[in-house]
Subunit: 286 residues, 2 copies
């Protein structure tokens, strides 16, 4: 029986820290504020947005939303972005992406204040993540994985980590972030010959492919017995009733040391990290 590492516990620890820092910030007369910028109202963002609003409300962090009309021009988008970027009361900017075509995020990615770039959309933070920085803003979902490892006091030196998935928001940055923390990392994906073989001697397996039942118990036969499996995937369940991750929980759980669930795992930490970033943004605006 694996220990289930709960997102709520990881998030609770983060929230405690955020509340302390926010109090300190306010005692010096400052504050944090998130601005969400979206073009049109894409229902695909609605559930993510609800999660964010819930966390920010509970933590009492100011937040606002700027919604541009669906057919707005590139100039209109860039101007709206610049206004937010230059607003000294805004300490974190979240742009819902992808933008509707033909809008490009390029100007924003180039000009965003690195200290407000809380979801790593800008070139500076993307480059810094890739180059091994430990204090830039990482993409929240990828960073959530690190928070689970920190919560369990995992020292990554001399550990083998397999990341399944190579997306630009999770897999790729996570590979870099793990290498910076001394993990020996293997990145697997749809063009990997034999994932079971690549998992041999793995201490940690992270699934971030968005593919239901991608990781099954029999694939872990050569992994370490106390292997920690972290599930970043979000998929519709086969029966259409709610969501599930990339891990086939029933077959994997009995074989590993620690595991996260979907729902109740990585996803529940992501919005809290966004809040942590908005507060950090405020701290950096000294």
């Amino acid at each position: 029986m694996a220990e289930i590492v709960k997102g709520a516990d990881v998030a609770a620890k983060l929230k405690e820290n955020i509340t302390e820092r926010l109090a300190k910030l306010r005692s010096s007369g400052r504050d944090a504020k998130l601005t969400i910028l979206s073009v049109g109202d894409d229902p695909a963002n609605a559930s993510y947005e609800r999660g964010i609003i819930k966390v920010f409300t509970a933590l009492d962090i100011p937040h606002e939303k700027v919604v541009l009309e669906a057919g707005c021009s590139q100039d209109e988008f860039d101007s709206a972005f610049t206004k937010i970027n230059e607003d000294p009361t805004v300490t974190g900017i979240l742009v819902f992406r992808p933008l509707p075509k033909p809008l490009s995020v390029e100007f924003a990615a180039k000009t965003i204040d690195p200290n407000k770039d809380i979801d790593c959309m800008g070139y500076y933070n993307q480059a810094s993540t890739a180059m091994g920085s430990k204090d830039c803003f990482y993409p929240c979902t990828a960073e959530a994985v690190l928070k689970f490892l920190e919560y369990e006091n995992v020292d990554l030196a001399f550990k083998n980590v397999v990341v399944i998935g190579r997306s630009t928001v999770v897999g790729r940055p996570l590979v870099s972030m793990l290498i910076s923390r001394n993990a020996t990392v293997t990145c697997c994906h749809t063009k990997t010959a034999d994932i079971t073989d690549r998992i041999s001697n793995a201490d940690i397996v992270v699934t971030a492919a968005g593919s239901r039942a991608l990781l099954k118990g029999d694939m872990l036969k050569n992994a370490k017995k106390d292997c920690f499996c972290i599930d970043v995937g979000i998929n519709m369940r086969e029966d259409g009733q709610g969501i599930c991750g990339d891990i086939e929980f029933e077959s994997v759980e009995p074989l590993v040391g620690k595991i996260t669930t979907v729902p109740g795992g990585v996803g529940s930490v992501t919005s809290t990290l966004l809040a942590e970033h908005v507060v950090r943004g405020a701290e950096m605006m000294l």
Copy 2:
């Protein structure tokens, strides 16, 4: 007996292509030009610079050098950089790094024209490399590894590649570039528990750690028999007579399918790639 893949052959193919493109460029009244910017005259750069001048002279590509005084200010450096960056005749900029302290490369990394950023010093190209772009400028040494693979027509899908080393100029970007080309990549380094184990079933091993005799024959016992070993390392030989790579050639060569040497390998392709980038920069300035 392994086949030795020679840097001179890989470079010759590239040079042929560069010459053709340069002729085309000039027939339309345009030209390429490299500007090297350095602060002081660090002898550590001398050998690299000689190699560059030799290649550019042979290919008949205009090149110039701007040398600032060793004690110049940040403003002086940034102004000199901007002048080159805005010069429409310059199609590629190479800044010798690291800059002497306390100078910072930050302004240059942020403002460099992505189309002149031929050695991937700017945030845009670093982020693009990390995010999987296939048409941005990569760091030349990391890209040289790709050129050896292309020269041998290696299809990386379903191949296991082990990169030993995690530097910001070779190991890290190379991991990302290989993932983009469908390789299954493992990155090993000084905090890896058992490199021999991580190399199991490897099709390709790239050494980029800068550590003499890092890879020895007995470490390849579980690698594939036709494994391709590419040596990016540059170290002083133990006897002080010239340079050697990270691979212990005598013990590795009999056990693998293909191998590169140092000298005569990756290093001989790097300067040619710099020339290719300067020409590409000119092509992009349409």
